[in-house]
């Protein structure tokens, strides 16, 4: 069967076209060939802003052709396997193994098995140690590289931090490697390790004590340790694509996106993004307005997303919205402001930008002031009430509230207070507007590397289930819907996020057992992972249910972010002092 015939038989073949408006097609002669691989479906991957930045940044270079590859749907995978055809890039339908550089984006721990799947389908040896002179150089970037160890055996290098500058240095190094007759991969690895922000796993070998903890690292003499995070200093001069790809099919974030700022002004102790994207760097309002207009003009998108970790903390927000308003209303373009803080300023901004027909989402995270202070969520009950009051006055129809259970220092009272807070907020809202509809999302807290809670034990699976059920049953009696991530997913996210190199074996077994696209509830199977844990000899309790000592050698100790170990520990102590 040819690829064309296969596409006749799969669902949503529009995922695999690769000739979208503003996609890059070049004459392959003399080009350095790179592919950015995203271990999830097109609908997710094509929405990712980081991918878009790197893709267009590389293609700006005349002698580089960068293409894209996404996870195949289960039906395409089956057809590829039975026909023996390799997984291909979208633009030129080139097998992944024929690229010089393959770069994966690691956004979510549960996508890791799909990385192995794409490597295998692309006919690339899975492990760095198995790759020879002709095989591509396989690298990764994205927020999950905050702990590079669980996927260490599969990558020649992992990049830590902002990629838009480092990616060109990585290409240059790979180009030199490909040009040499010897193509010695050890030489390549040493050269890659000299690029600031690049972690080369083969140069660092963890040694384990009998307890299973890391006792020490065997570090190559020529390699840096720890690897410092790479940061772009100034967003105004940093590259940002004004001609992004316009997808042919509907994707999850089907809109123009402009990044307002990187980093966060808040210091929520549970939030990995808040720590790993430090320091915060603002794009100027003039530049935001300019980029928004250019992108809208070049794509025809009907919606603009102004994105950041906490949009209403952007000092120029009003200026941007006012500056864009005439253009947006003339062109009938909607604005979306994700990541709003639950205060009245945010509600005002949301209404100004979007009108009141959207869902407002707020994240109080915890039910009591005491617990919000522990986790560093700087938000008072009064502020939340004011926000809800205003939302109801403005006739917003839907407000969604995010909470976490299983937080450090959480007591039963905190759960009861989630319930009574939501009921109070609902009463306030209903007393003002009949239209307003409150819903709740309640998910498990997962301790993440590079945060003050990285030493914490995670709450046990059955407790997490009980806690969510408690909140849910109480609120659903009142007619308030409660959703949230399945606890088993949080459990696995917890195992992998703080995993060491041994977790690579678990990922591999899970993939072999058929784990794919686990972020999609139709595909996720917990038994597949349980089986994989016993096959790989992984005890989840070791990774989840154990409070780490201050002097424990953590698997991610080879990377150094702006917030260092000492600072994180102090933050943790501050959290518990109250």
């Amino acid at each position: 069967m040819t690829l064309g015939e296969i596409l006749f038989q799969v669902q949503k073949p529009g995922r695999y076209l690769g000739n979208e408006l503003n996609s890059m097609h070049k004459d392959p002669g003399g080009m350095f060939r790179a592919v950015i691989a995203y271990p999830d479906l097109y609908e997710i991957g094509a929405s990712n802003l980081g991918i878009s930045i790197l893709y267009h940044r590389l293609n700006k270079e005349e002698d580089i052709w960068c293409e894209r590859a996404f996870a195949p749907g289960p039906d395409l995978e089956k057809a590829l396997r039975s026909s023996g055809l390799p997984l291909f890039s979208l633009e030129s339908r080139t097998p992944l193994r024929d690229f010089s550089l393959v770069g994966f984006s690691l956004q979510y721990e549960l996508t890791f098995p799909q990385v192995l799947n794409m490597l295998e389908l692309g006919k690339i040896p899975l492990r760095t140690a198995e790759r020879g002179p002709e095989d591509p150089v396989v690298v990764a970037g994205g927020p999950c590289t905050a702990n590079p160890e669980p996927m260490a055996p599969f990558f020649d290098a992992l990049h830590i931090g902002d990629g838009e500058e480092a990616i060109l240095e990585i290409v240059q190094t790979v180009k030199e490697f490909r040009g040499k007759r010897s193509r010695d991969r050890h030489e390549l690895h040493l050269a890659l390790s000299r690029i600031p922000g690049v972690y080369v796993p083969v140069l660092y070998e963890p040694m384990y004590s009998e307890s299973g903890m890391i006792s020490d690292w065997k570090i190559d003499k020529a390699a840096p340790w720890p690897v410092p995070v790479r940061r772009v200093r100034d967003l105004d001069s940093a590259y940002f694509p004004a001609l992004p790809v316009l997808p042919g099919i509907e994707i999850v974030h089907d809109r123009a996106q402009v990044e307002l700022f990187r980093g966060c002004v808040r210091g929520c102790r549970f939030c990995q993004a808040g720590f790993v994207y430090r320091p915060r760097r603002f794009r100027s309002p003039e530049k935001v307005v300019f980029l928004a207009r250019e992108i809208l003009k070049n794509t025809g998108w009907e919606e603009l997303g102004l994105v950041s970790l906490s949009t209403c903390d952007y000092p120029g927000l009003e200026q941007v919205i006012e500056g864009l308003r005439p253009y947006l209303s003339e062109k009938k373009v909607q604005v979306s402001l994700p990541s709003l803080r639950a205060d009245s300023f945010s509600v005002k901004m949301a209404r100004l930008a979007q009108g009141n027909r959207i869902t407002l989402t707020f994240a109080p995270e915890a039910g009591t002031q005491r617990l919000r202070e522990v986790i560093g969520k700087d938000l008072s009950e009064e502020e939340i009430k004011e926000a809800i009051k205003l939302a109801a006055q403005y006739d917003f129809e839907r407000v969604k509230l995010y909470f976490m259970v299983g937080l450090p220092k959480e007591e039963e009272e905190d759960l009861e207070e989630i319930v009574s807070l939501v009921i109070k907020l609902n009463q306030i809202a209903k007393s003002i507007s009949r239209k307003v509809h409150l819903s709740v999302s309640c998910s498990a807290f997962v301790p993440k590397p590079q945060t003050p809670f990285q030493w914490e034990r995670m709450e046990e699976l059955h407790q997490l289930k009980r806690k969510r059920l408690f909140v849910r049953s109480k609120l659903e009696k009142r007619g308030i819907e409660v959703g949230g991530q399945k606890e088993e997913l949080s459990f696995l996210e917890g195992v992998i996020a703080r995993g060491d190199r041994k977790i690579a074996g678990l990922i591999e077994e899970a993939w072999k057992n058929g784990s794919r696209l686990d972020g999609w509830s139709d595909y996720f199977s917990f038994p597949v992972w349980q089986e994989a844990m016993s096959q790989a000899g992984i005890d989840p309790a070791f990774y989840l249910y154990r409070e780490r000592e201050k002097d424990e050698v953590l698997p991610w100790s080879g990377v150094r972010y702006a917030a260092g170990l000492e600072y994180l520990w102090q933050e943790r102590e501050r959290a518990y002092r109250g």
Partner: protein, 210 residues
């Protein structure tokens, strides 16, 4: 003054796998990029008003597809050139013409479609067989919907069938009340012993029957 404009365009093989809805979205964005003064729908998620001709199935390309848009004012530029310049890969704008405003949507007309299917035959059906098939009193096939399976008669839809080395041509009538599906015609032939392995679908002609 609202002016109705009929656009003839082709959906190329390279985007055959986009759905009807994808094509509508592509046009809505093309109209924004090209800054065409079109009428927008009312409501929150406002969209350009587009009246599409009969849908192409996923996997099909079309040589002369149709859609109507409604202008808010007389454009002070060459509409055809502007649309051509902003068309995305796979869509070619062939022709535009102004129409007197009419309420009737494009889908409210009966159409005649000429389908050219590429593929391979195990046995090519002979002309005589196809002629006899079309002359039957009733040409019934089963149609399954999510709710039920029912028998339908293709006789009133099927105008002509021509088969040759690596192709099958089908002329089909359709109307707002219904039509035949290509897969039903293929199934009919398969049940008669003529299996066609489909490789590409092209609607060569689309004619409005007024």
């Amino acid at each position: 003054m609202v002016k109705r404009i009929r656009i003839a365009y082709s959906k190329g093989q390279e985007i055959a796998f986009l759905s009807h809805l994808d094509v509508i979205r592509a046009f809505s964005r093309l109209l924004r990029r090209a800054e065409i003064p079109v009428q927008y729908s009312q409501g929150f998620h406002t969209r350009p008003l587009i009246s599409m001709g009969p849908a192409l199935p996923v996997g099909a390309s079309g040589e002369e597809e149709l859609l109507d848009i409604f202008l808010e004012r007389e454009p002070d530029f060459d509409l055809l050139e502007r649309l051509k310049a902003h068309a995305p890969p796979g869509i070619k704008i062939r022709e535009v013409k102004g129409l007197r405003e009419k309420k009737k949507a494009l889908t409210a007309f009966p159409f005649l479609s000429l389908w050219h299917l590429e593929g391979t035959w195990e046995v090519i059906p002979e002309e005589g067989f196809l002629k006899a098939l079309l002359e039957r009193e009733e040409i019934s096939v089963l149609r399954s919907t999510p709710k039920a399976v029912r028998q339908i008669d293709l006789k009133k839809y099927l105008k002509a069938l021509r088969a040759g080395e690596e192709y099958l041509e089908i002329e089909l009538y359709s109307s707002p009340e219904g039509g035949a599906r290509l897969e039903e015609v293929l199934r009919l032939l398969r049940e008669e012993g003529y299996n066609f392995r489909l490789k590409a679908i092209l609607r060569k002609k689309l004619r409005i029957l007024e």
